[in-house]
Amino acid sequence: MTEANVRNSRFDLRRLTKSKELLVFAFLILLLVFAPLFLSIFRVNLLGKFIAYAILAIGLDLIWGFTGILSLGHGVFFGLGAYCMAMYLKLEAAQGKLPDFMSWSGLESLPWFWKPFTNSALAIVMAILIPTGLAFVIGFFTFKNRIRGVYFSILSQALAIIFSVLFVGQQAYTGGTNGLTNYRSIMGFSLSSDTTKLTLYYISLALLVVTYLFCNFLVKRRIGRILVAIRDGENRVRFSGYNPATYKIFVYCLSAAIAGLAGAVFVPQVGIISPAEMGIVPSIEMVIWVAIGGRGTLIGAVIGAILVNALKSGISDSFPDVWSYFIGLAFVFVVLLMPQGIVGLVKEMARRFKQPPNHTEHLSTDKAA
């Protein structure tokens, strides 16, 4: 298949699907808006957790699906955001006293870096700024030196390991393996009340919409084209006068910020954050959400995150063994047989439906890998 053909087929696809993507998203959001009418508050709470994951998946898709950088350390950014929020919740639960685990570990006064988190607004800002800052430092020192592809993935995976080790090790400051839990209220509202839970659910839903629309806006601009161009031919982008490193650092920071936001949304609904949420296993599981949903389409990331997690809570509660096989085989199956995920599959089917079958052009964007 020649280069021009690829471009043409992609262009057709874009016209065919891009407008529909928004429609599908709107439909999905409508479903989620009315879901609490039919579900118990426990299920709504669970759905709120999936929405937090969906927010994160959008950010991950931006960096992997669009820019072709596979980050295996997004759990860290998610975790940092979650910890920022959890520190605030923990301090509010302690009501001016020292949080319980600190006094168990023998600390006498609040460490200085905990102090700003008494303020809820500041904690939320930090939940976004701290992951962004870390991403900037890591991104600067890797992308500037053209550490890329596989090398970056491995380094980002190491990041996930050292952060979980660090958080487990610094028990007195982070709560160690147990993480931070036992919150009481958020901004004065009891976390155990149904109204608070419902409000949190709708807030996360609203944040999902905002994140989606913002990223959708972004990928349709020129910057979105450049990101895709970096994925498909980084050196050509460089020779055209753009500096890929700048764009890569930007997209890495942005997706870290989104991950931090997702973490902040996650914690008050789930009620716990521990280093187990930021290790390599959850980090790589995040990637599979995007892969199953369909990389390179924002709607795919959202669908994948919600679907995989719904399946997970359905299967793994009753058959944990089956879940390991399922998710393991899903990795292999999706990568080998449907690299464009569910969205790619639907597009392919729609295309076959519209065009006579003798037209065998493939809509592969395998180079994304």
Binding site: T142, Y151, L155, Q157, L166, G169, S324, L329, F331, A369
Partner: protein, 301 residues
């Protein structure tokens, strides 16, 4: 004085394990550019093969028990290699030139293999009784003893490095492997069956992981997550050392191993890991392609 010597020995010992685990990766990742996240599970398979071998020898007369380990080394090589061969034929061969996809698919394979191990051998860790001739240690001075097990692993690493060197650089097979990895089309037109070379190269790499697993049984109990604990470190070894060179793997392993033990000795376990990571990033600033990279003029590699 004694403490320092012991520290140095510990460093070398940890490095030797890292190198052993990374040797297989030097082939599958270094030469074939496949990110095999299931590499850790090949280590695990090697360890369980050793466990099974030990169980067989429990039925034999006691005097023969010590020999099981010598048999377990080739056995774990063969079994891991076979599993690697099957994996290459079924999954990996579709993924050449898609390194990030190979990473995801093999991670899935690793999840399945881990769960299989849990279902077959049970979730709790199992113990492998090391052979009697490896108990005790070499006493250098009062309070300074080098355990035979660790010395044996160091020797094993040297043997493996040497045999891999001979295999890759001094044998016909090795020449074919290098030819295919360096220029596939050219090798093909010279009449080399590249698919077959791919399959057995991957099998050899997996086999070396099996040997690593066999050696790890000397150091502690084994479980389904045995490999996961090593996978990131071993990848770092290959990345730091430089992809595709044996010298690089050895150097990377030595550096990370000694840095790990030294920094953990000077600070604490969790902080030590962070410092090692920073060290690696810093070194990569200076040499983005690793310490010993094969220089190439190609733009996209």
């Amino acid at each position: 004085m004694g403490t320092y010597l012991l520290q140095i020995f510990n460093g070398i010992s940890v490095s030797s394990i890292l190198i052993l685990a990374a040797l297989g990766l030097a082939i599958t990742f270094g030469l074939m550019k496949i990110i095999n996240m299931a590499h850790g599970e090949f280590i695990m398979i090697g360890a369980y093969v050793t466990y099974l071998m030990q169980n067989q020898f429990l039925h034999l007369p006691k005097s023969l028990f010590g020999l099981y380990f010598l048999l377990a080394i080739p056995a774990s090589f063969i079994v891991s290699g076979l599993v690697g061969f099957v994996l290459e034929r079924t999954v990996i061969r579709h993924l050449y030139n898609r390194p990030l996809d190979s990473l995801l698919a093999t991670w899935g394979v690793s999840l399945v293999l881990q769960q299989l191990a849990r279902n077959i051998f049970g979730a709790p860790n199992v113990d492998v009784k090391s052979p009697g001739w490896l108990d005790g240690g070499l006493v250098l001075s009062q309070g300074l003893q080098l355990p035979y097990k660790r010395l044996f692993i160091i020797a094993l690493v040297i043997v493996c490095l040497l045999s891999m060197f001979l295999l890759l650089y001094k044998s016909k097979t090795g020449r074919r492997i290098r030819a295919v990895m360096q220029n596939r089309e050219m090798a093909e037109s010279m009449g080399i069956n590249t698919r077959r070379v791919d399959a057995y190269t991957f099998a050899i790499g997996s086999g070396f992981a099996g040997i690593a697993g066999c050696a790890l049984t000397l150091l502690g109990s084994i479980g389904s997550t045995l490999g996961t604990n090593y996978i990131v470190d071993t990848f770092m070894v290959v990345v730091l050392g430089g992809v595709g060179t044996l010298v690089g793997t050895a150097a990377g392993g030595l550096l990370i191993g000694t840095a790990n033990t030294t920094l953990e000795f000077l600070t604490n376990a969790s902080l030590g890991k962070v410092l090692v990571f920073i060290l690696i990033i810093t070194l990569l600033q200076w040499r983005p392609n690793g310490l010993f990279n094969i220089s190439s003029r190609s733009l996209d590699d």
